[in-house]
Amino acid sequence: MNLAAVSFVLALAISILAALTALAVDNRVRLLAAGTLTAAGGAMAVVSGIATLGGQTFVADLPDLLPLFGVHISLDALGGVFVMVTGAVAVVVAIYGIGYARGGALRGRTVQAVVPLFVAAMLLVPAAASVATLLVAWELMALTSLILVVAEHRKRPAVAIAGQWYAVMTHLGLVVILIGLMIFAAHSSDDTFAALRTAADGLSPAIRGVVFVATFAGFASKAGAVPLHAWLPRAHPEAPSHVSALMSAAMVNAGVYGIIRVGFDLLGAGARWWWLLVLVVGAVSAVYGILQAVLSTDLKRLLGYSTTENMGIVLIGVGAAGIFATSGQRVLAGLAMTAALLHVINHAAFKSLLFMAAGSVVQATGTRSLDDLGGLRTTMPATTAMFAVGALAASALPPGAAFVSEWLLLQGLIHGVETAGMATAIAMPLSVAAVALTAGVAVATFVKAFGIGFLAKPRTRAAQNAVERRPEMIAAMLTAAVLCGGLALAPGLIVPQLAPAAGAAGPLLSDPATEGALTIRLQGVSGSLSPVLMMCALMIAAVGVVALTRLASVTRARRTEKRLWDCGAGPLSPRMEYTATSFAEPLQRVFDDVLEPEFDVDVTHVRESRYLVDRIEYRRRVPDRIERRLYEPVLRAVAAWGRGGRGLASGSVHRYLGYGFYTLIGVFVVLAVTR
């Protein structure tokens, strides 16, 4: 047993122990005990993930644990990255949960016991080495997360609807993954990944394509990719915030993992059109996600759509890696895959931070609507600072974490010109445009989220009376913020370590992409970036600017407070401020053909005159257009089918027996004719 094995087993064991403890102990110590144990399990998982990146592996076969199939575990560097990410998210979220769940319905036995089980399931998914193990872990992950999503269903009716959407979509996803992997396994000796790998070479291209498309649909839906994202903007806002953080920062990654594992590792990269499909889905997800995010006025919904956007960027990286790999460009494929994995890590860091900060805000003010927030910088300074760090990291500006991974991705795409093919030559520039547009709108999105939500004056009494949250919640956010900072400033320490993970995904991706700790220098292609030096230069410039302005000024006096410019009309009230809706209005106009927002303006006139306005009511809703065009017809068709079937169900047992009898006869007749 090496370090990776010991720590991975310990991580699972401690998580299960945490669940049992949560069930056993009473209310007073439950939060602390379960939270600490979950965090310890997460820490073990981080150790295990790092050990696998160092070259260790962990293989275990437990043939008797699951009837018929057995459980097969194999943790390699690729799975290790995802185990590490999940573990790190679990650590901060568990610490946060100790404070967050206090004094609410969330401190109950069920929720506290299910959180560590959810973490354990997420750790098992990237370690599964057979179809049965993967699917069992996948379903466990889906069920535990579903229980957590609906944890607060007594408080808000919207939770139940979100839960239904999530339950149905995640299970449809499971069904298509199951179908894909069953077709695959039917052509191999057994259902272990090792057998599938050897069988993949003998498959016809058509079957390989079917397997890939089916599994891709299921995995992409878990990753929240458009058009299978409909559950995500519902479930993420309605779930308790620490669960949102776990789902958005860790669970959606499982979808990315699945695509990489099946597409590259098991099916051996396959045909180029697969990866063009991934690239296009990624590009559409990125742009659509960020456009919905910039118009969202619900803080958590905004973050949820931002998850779709970021997973889109990851999928662009994965798709580009596939295109390069199928054209035999190992260096570029490794580079694109490294960029995708780095973005997964970065996204996990900043999105867990942002969801935790949003959770603190929601708890302190009781509202998720940005239009009702504002002014939190005076009442919740620590949370405001943490959200600022997360927003900087998310908006792809230096010195932020996402900037580094998107820079790496663009470096890979620049060299796509050497890859032959008309489809590639059209898809690559379009995906570059998608990444660029996403980066631009992301800046507006997070300026809106941070500026409107936290700066300026409080827009409601709830925002005015907010109080800073408990120290353990701030400590958890601080940890995540430090991780964000580390990822942003020292990517050179992390990026070279990802090479074994990219290599484990496929022999075509085995080359290390970068070198250098302070400055990332790309290997094989030219390009370098040094976030640390950039940060130092910015600091020096800022200090210099401050010093020189002090020198130039005649007075040494401190700043004096002065009235704001109010056009001479008396003090400004918070009602005069720009809201999130008005802030995004110009962008809504720009993209109204894409998003088709609905708004109605209600003008009430003064009774005496039609020309004098008493009050104006403005309402705006941005419906999910894809949902409306794609899901509603399907749902209507299913409902119509159900209504049609109702005529057959008269309630008479005789008739039901008759159905069974005639069906059996029918089957015999078909058999008799065809055999």
């Binding site: 500006l397 300026v447 370098s528 401050v546 009235r563």
Partner: protein, 312 residues
């Protein structure tokens, strides 16, 4: 020697940028039949503002106070790393085009946050409009740059400029022409010139940048104004060096550096004069027509990228 050129370059941009703005204003004034305050007026303004007392508008936070410093710092870093005078500046490896664009966007985003932070309707309005423009300009800049990088295989500014110096025919290739038009439109929008924004207006219906910085006064305002002038210089400098890189020092001799300084000043000055002359004959676009212009430039940039893939 390379350190000397970096210091000279920083000095030229920092000290020359108010002068550039002054020359452009003076040109406009003369063409519109006014006497004009003279090219040195921005310098006098800056000196006056820097000496005034520092104020904190009621209810604003550190974001408001720190934004001008960050805006200035990002512009200074870009002015230091960009290869304006020599082809391989001492900080050249940091002169990555994506990093440069992202740094400049960071400064603009900080100023937008400061606008929101004041809690006034003007501040929010300016920030909202500025971010809308930035959200459309940043992609255009990135994609246009990407088009220029594809054929060189690098996003390093020095490498791109070196490729153009080595092979001047690249400038008249379709990729360059498309990217040049797209970049020109993006730069006009980013620096807030007519027809996107009018830097000399204070009419609330049309203000973009000015609405955002309405609460600034004294040394803070001086920093904002100075940084805006430097951003204009930096963008014009990038544009001329990407498409007309002649005169840039390729070796480390003092003569080459002097020639480079002279050429840089002349090129940026001429381009600035063209911009100013154009502004005399043009009206500002309605705010909601601006996105159409920017969408057009984004499309041109995209065409440039597609062309760079097909024509490579």
């Amino acid at each position: 020697m390379s350190v000397v050129s970096a210091v000279v370059q920083l000095g030229v941009v920092v000290l020359g940028s108010p002068l550039l703005v002054g020359v452009m204003r003076q040109m406009r004034a003369r063409m519109e039949g006014r006497v004009g305050p003279g090219a040195l007026q921005p310098w006098r303004d800056l000196r006056k503002l820097l000496r005034k007392e520092r104020i904190a508008p009621r209810g604003t936070s550190e974001v408001f106070q720190f934004a001008p410093v960050l805006l200035m710092a990002t512009t200074l870093v870009v002015a230091a790393v960009a290869p304006f005078l020599t082809i391989s500046p001492v900080l050249g490896p940091a002169g990555d085009l994506f990093a440069v664009v992202a740094l400049l966007t960071l400064g603009a985003a900080a100023l937008a946050l400061a606008g929101i932070d004041t809690g006034t309707a003007f501040g929010g309005m300016g920030a909202s409009r500025e971010m809308t423009i930035i959200a459309l300009v940043e992609p255009t800049l990135l994609v246009a740059i990407f088009a220029l990088s594809v054929r060189v295989g690098s996003t390093n500014l020095g490498d791109i400029i070196r490729a153009t110096v080595d092979d001047p025919a690249l400038v008249i290739s379709p990729v360059s022409l498309l990217a040049a038009v797209a970049l020109a439109l993006a730069i006009i929008a980013e620096t807030g010139r007519i027809p996107v924004d009018n830097p000399s207006t204070h009419l609330e219906l049309t203000m973009v940048h000015e609405a955002m910085v309405l609460e600034y006064a004294g040394p803070d305002l001086a920093l904002v104004e100075w940084a805006s002038a430097m951003r204009l210089t930096v963008f014009l400098g990038l544009f001329v060096n990407l498409f007309m890189p002649w005169g840039v020092a390729t070796d480390a001799s003092l003569v080459a550096l002097l020639v480079a300084v002279l050429m840089f000043v002349v090129k940026v000055g001429v381009l600035g004069s063209f911009l100013a002359a154009g502004e005399v004959f043009m009206a500002k676009l309605r705010l909601f027509r601006v996105p159409e212009l920017l969408a057009g430039s984004f499309l041109l940039a995209l065409l440039a990228v597609v062309a760079s893939y097909f024509l490579a």
